[in-house]
Symmetry: C2
DNA sequence: TCAGTATATGCGAAGATGCTAATATAACGG
DNA sequence: CCGTTATATTAGCATCTTCGCATATACTGA
């Protein structure tokens, strides 16, 4: 695989590599939301959220639609949602494994 | 979802957010490899590859096994491989969309 | 024990990222 | 046109990341 493809993937992962942006995508995975609605749900500075949205826009992970005064955001490709779902699964697997290890330690103590 | 979970996911994505580390994982997805083999396949500085491996180790994305002189690495959870496969699919979808746009521009020119 | 091979780690420079505060742009109602 | 609301952008600072270089550690065979 050419390095440019890997760079592309790395860029997408980089865009996902922030808790706030993950939160934004999780909210958006349930449907379109205005920037203001996101700001309220996240409870963060307006400028900060706007910057995170800019990152997601730059990588074309989200698209926006202007409606009068407001800007509505949505996830462009549902595959991104699947990636997040897989990560959830991954997290659970890791958690179970950790618990299993703790269990074993408990028994062999 | 609590923020700690999002932080966890973000940390994993951060670990994936580098072309070299993606290359490493792609090589490892075909099976266990020694650090030396990876260095050769990647054609990069030994110390650099070792640092990237350290990042992947820290997030427990890869595990290592010592065998005499060498250290063999492998992917701990195949879910990570699935995430990479999904990203490949995502890339193709994006590519197709871009080509489609170019096509349209061509026709309406 | 010593030389050689394989791998990891520490350090400093250069660049990227994320935050806050301030400011800019755009659309609306009056 | 004016003030207000919604959103984006800029600037400055602190922190993190990545790299190359040097060095450390660990194992092997003589």
């Amino acid at each position: 695989m050419p390095d440019s493809l890997r760079q592309f993937k790395a860029d997408i992962f980089q865009a996902l590599a922030h808790p706030t942006r993950i939160a934004i995508l999780e909210f958006l995975s349930e449907g379109e939301l205005s920037a203001g609605a996101l700001i309220e749900k996240l409870g963060m500075e307006q400028a900060n959220v706007s910057q995170h949205l800019a990152v997601l826009r730059a990588k074309q992970i989200v698209v926006n639609r202007k409606a009068g005064n407001q800007v509505f955001y949505s996830i462009r490709d549902p595959t991104i949602g699947k990636v997040l779902a897989l990560m959830r699964k991954y997290f659970h697997a890791q958690l179970k494994e950790t618990i299993g290890m703790l269990d074993e330690m408990e028994h062999t103590r």
